[in-house]
Homo-oligomer: 190 residues x 2
DNA sequence: GTCTATATGTCAGTCACTGACATAACGCAG
DNA sequence: CTGCGTTATGTCAGTGACTGACATATAGAC
């Protein structure tokens, strides 16, 4: 009965968010989520490869947007500048999702297994960004390094952004890049 | 029968390495590892909180060594220099473990769940390093950033080291730091 | 030689996840 | 509007990771 696959999927995500918030991740069983969404446990696992993944759907739009922004950047820019621009390009996307990502972040931070999945997703995103940089002609090893370094910066920016509520993300990104500069060339260093 | 807890633990690690290499991680059950080590499945899970963890024992010595090296570094050094020195300090430790870490890395690279645990361990190590930097008086946010950036560099160095077999690790670390400098200040940038 | 702490064995149980097969709804061709 | 293939779902049985409770055996202290 393909009544609406996306509908059920969405209901499961909402149900999971609610149950995780109320009872915690480990205390919530996949069957409970499915029941609340009006489907079977088996259906849950057909939509999400595992129980954690229900919290991490929608990452593809970010990686796609980042790839697009990287590939479309002016040809002569070095990796750092490409990433700086690309991050700025995706801020609307991230800012638009803040209402969802904030409670999500609470749930994730409260559970080691979810933290593990989160850093794994970051690593995967670094892989995607590295691929995009390679399409610009950057050598693989250099692209991989730039991607990982860039994602550390973006991660730091998001951390600042979650703390200081009212600041625009763009400001936090600028600050994070300054932090990187400071790390590499500390004030008063030889 | 506390005949020798460490003995059994070691036998399980060896058994796991052998079985994972031969049959793969997913195809190997915890009961099989335990049986080969001459213990029960229950005993396996008393020594390792989960099946993956049997591959990640011994990380504490690295984090302890890094912490020690960071705390002991001269007082006036900026974070980057502290980490640069600390990484150099722990090269003997890493080089001494290469015989074990190489087959391990093969197993890990072949399985997504193990990759996930690996990046989680990296993140945990970053946390430890950040704590050590804080003990030097670095502000928390700055310490956290420096730790993550530094670990990206170390990770890149280890990557180079695993590829180019005969190169000393110290050389790879130097090269990785150069890669960082180049990322921040590309040649021919304004 | 008892006594205690600790490492292990045993067993039953929960839950994440999977494969195989049946079924119902939807879109489309006729 | 009727038959048909595609697709999302339900059902069911099974495996394996992991846990709690309880019994037991051993090494070492005294």
């Amino acid at each position: 009965m393909p009544r609406s696959s996306e509908d059920a999927r969405y209901r499961m995500q909402i149900a999971a968010l609610e149950l995780f918030t109320k009872n915690g991740f480990e205390q919530t069983t996949a069957a409970q989520i499915a029941a609340r969404a009006g489907v079977t446990e088996r259906t849950f696992f057909r939509h999400f490869p595992d129980k954690r993944e229900v919290l991490f759907a929608g990452q593809e739009v970010l990686s796609a947007a980042l790839t697009e922004a990287i590939v479309q950047a002016p040809a002569d820019l070095p990796p750092r500048a490409v990433l700086r621009r690309a991050f700025a390009d995706v801020t609307p996307l991230l800012e638009g999702n803040r209402r969802f990502s904030e409670p999500r972040q609470h749930i994730i931070a409260a559970n080691p297994a979810l933290m593990e999945r989160e850093v794994a997703k970051h690593a995967a995103l670094a892989g995607v960004v590295a691929d995009a940089l390679q399409k610009r002609g950057i050598a693989p090893a250099r692209a991989a390094f730039a991607a990982k370094a860039g994602l550390v910066v973006l991660g730091h920016a998001l951390g600042l952004w979650f703390e200081k509520a009212s600041q625009p993300l763009e400001t936090c990104i600028a600050e994070a890049f300054k932090e990187l500069d400071l790390f590499v060339s500390p004030a008063g260093d030889s």
